[in-house]
């Protein structure tokens, strides 16, 4: 099922990304997930075909495409490697942050390198707070942290949202024990005095709008995961025999597939739709719905694979772990629903 707003250029882009993912990612993705290493050489290669400056205007060496193009790209890459898709999404969005909020000289200094991939950008995705010990210090998770040259995060200073950009320093600590998204180079840092020193800051005037777009990108990773789990489960159920029948012939397997398909389709439509209207609430709803759906869909995907869903020979268990990370790390879905409910009634 495709969304009617998709233009030919998006469809072509999707084909390119599909080809890229199949040739550059599929043979290494499971191994790199096991090791917890990023797909850095693929990162370089996608830079060569313009995948790292999607939103950056041509004057700064980018492709100057629209937001939906980035969504389509991320979704397609996520079908093979959710981690890689996340890295690409966050790098591109970091560029967008510089483009939107950076000073002219800053843009000139960095955007060319970013859009060609000479420089890799990272960003803290957990713009919503996470629980902390009663008198503890806040920590942030930075996607691409281990291999980026520069990264950004946002802080509230005097009730004003600011985007802080830093050259990568020692404060970033590699998170080697993430449950999922293990090839996204996720690192963490403590949000203390040290983290705020020697940096560049820009004011963000509409932080909600900005971050809801980032969360929509995470949702498009979830969309890709949904599609891929569904496609895998469909083909597996058409190959696997038990009781002298294809498992696709069993009613309970069929209903699982139907539940997966409806969520996968709906996720895609709602994300595409939300990307094309200028409405924060729409994006939040799309993103919570989609990330929750991806957990549901991957859980059923594992189930349809049976014992084979539980082992690392197949991508299903990775999708499941990746989906859980997505559902939580930009703010738990359950908590975000409270915020959505608040918006709906205010």
């Amino acid at each position: 099922m495709d969304w009617m707003g998709l233009k030919d250029e998006h469809k072509l882009l999707r084909q390119d990304m599909k080809r890229f993912a199949e040739t550059e990612l599929s043979s290494v993705v499971l191994e790199m997930d096991k090791k917890g290493e990023p797909l850095t050489s693929a990162m370089k290669k996608i830079g060569e075909i313009g995948g790292l400056g999607i939103l950056i205007s041509e004057e700064f060496g980018g492709a100057g495409m629209d937001f939906l193009s980035l969504i389509v790209t991320v979704e397609e890459l996520a079908k093979i490697s959710p981690s890689f898709a996340l890295s690409v999404a966050i790098h591109n969005f970091f560029g967008e942050a510089i483009l939107s909020y950076g000073s002219t000289e800053f843009k000139k200094e960095y955007l060319f390198s970013l859009s060609t991939g000479k420089m890799i950008g990272g960003m803290a995705v957990d713009t919503m707070n996470h629980p902390i010990p009663s008198n503890g210090c806040e920590e942030r998770l930075v996607v691409n942290g281990t291999f980026s040259d520069i990264f950004g995060f946002s802080v509230k200073i005097d009730e004003k949202e600011q985007f802080v950009v830093k050259k990568k320093g020692e404060e970033l600590k590699e998170e080697t024990e993430m449950m999922g998204m293990r090839s996204s180079g996720i690192s963490s840092f403590k949000l203390d005095e040290n983290a705020m020193s020697e940096d560049k800051r820009f004011n963000i005037d509409s932080a909600n709008d900005f971050y809801s777009r980032m969360r929509l990108l995470l949702a498009s990773v979830a969309c890709g995961i949904c599609q891929a789990s569904l496609e895998n489960a469909i083909s597996y159920s058409k190959e696997r025999h038990q009781f002298d029948r294809l498992i696709a012939s069993f009613g309970m397997v069929r209903t699982m597939l139907a539940d997966m398909a409806s969520r996968a389709y709906a996720s895609r439509i709602v994300v595409y739709q939300a990307s094309s209207v200028n409405n924060v609430l729409d994006r939040e709803i799309a993103s919570v719905f989609t990330t929750e759906s991806s957990l549901y869909v991957t859980d059923k995907g594992v189930q349809i694979y049976g014992g084979y869903g539980y082992i690392k020979d197949y991508p299903l268990e990775m999708f499941f772990r990746d989906a859980k990370v997505l559902e939580v790390f930009a703010g738990s879905a359950d908590y975000r629903k409270v915020l959505i409910g608040k918006s709906l009634t205010s």
């Binding site: 996470h130 499941f320 790390f329 738990s332 879905a333 409270v338």
Partner: protein
Amino acid sequence: MKFAEFTDRHKAFRDEVRGFAKKELLDESTQIDRKGEFPWHIINKIKERGWLGVPFPEKYGGLGLDATSYIILVEEIARVCASTAIMIAAHVSLACQPIYANGTEEQKEKYLVPLSRGEKIGSFGLTEPNAGSDAGGTETTAKLIGDKWLINGTKRFITNGHVADVIVFTASQDREKKTHGISAFIVEKGTKGFEAGKEEDKMGLRGSITSELHFEDCELPKENLLGKEYEGFKVFMETLDGGRISIGVLALGIAQGALDYGIEYAREYSLNGKPLYKYQWVQKIIADAATEIMAARHLIYHAANLKDRGEKRVTEEGAMAKLYASEVSTRVCSKIQSILGKDGLTKKYPLERFLRDTKLMEIGEGTSEIQRLVISRQIFGR
């Protein structure tokens, strides 16, 4: 939370196991998962206490306790380390139990005694590459040639496979006869023609071993038949009746462990300056989890209790308990992980391990779909 079904003896045993788990296992559990190695040092301590033979009579090397006590053991261990708990469950429910229920006196003497005492480790080989849910589709063959069985075939996903000394397994004497052609056998580690193959790299339960088993012209003495010829299907169906309760209680233990942790965390951590437990969205998750866990607990201990009252088959009750507890546990672990936010996503906190571990409970010893078939067959008849 109080639970009405326990006698004082059960409570005392529970407290003993709980104490052990806290003292010996809690700090180790993350490391067991991290290393992905079989926890020999823990298993040795468990065996010293006789806990690898809890429900078997003392004359067979066991502790002579009831089914409920055994289920308590698995729950309390699973609350802390599911990898260790599934090792015990496979050993007791799937290897010892069928020998106890179907073995000759000599077989019990030879195998059950050292297994119950923990001097040997047991395992159960039913699943094959092409025979998972359809375990009756066994392709491994057994031919009686003279006074020896000749075994050929491959088993897959066998818990304790590599470390087991005694393996109960199924093979077909006559594939035409389908389920009525299957017999059960016992093979010992080191038997010529028998070998543990590839070890699985799994999402969870990473401290437990899951292996392939290969039989290549493996010769077994005639007396290694377990039960009667052509009755292997019955042997494993009965074995799974009890085995399901042990997988169900594994799920229950994991869910309880997750809830315990979630409660503590919600007390001690704050979000935007407000303690987590004061948020309604957190209260809802915790309240739902506590309620569902209590319901699962009743199903599990009800099934165990029926066994203790001498009920021969607990097919329906065991299947319901396993189905419900395993689905509850996945839900509970995932939701509580969400309370922890990003702390739920790394090994520094146990929640991500709980979710990875518990997912297997919806798959192993019959998937949730198969449990639903078992239950509806009990309801509608065949």
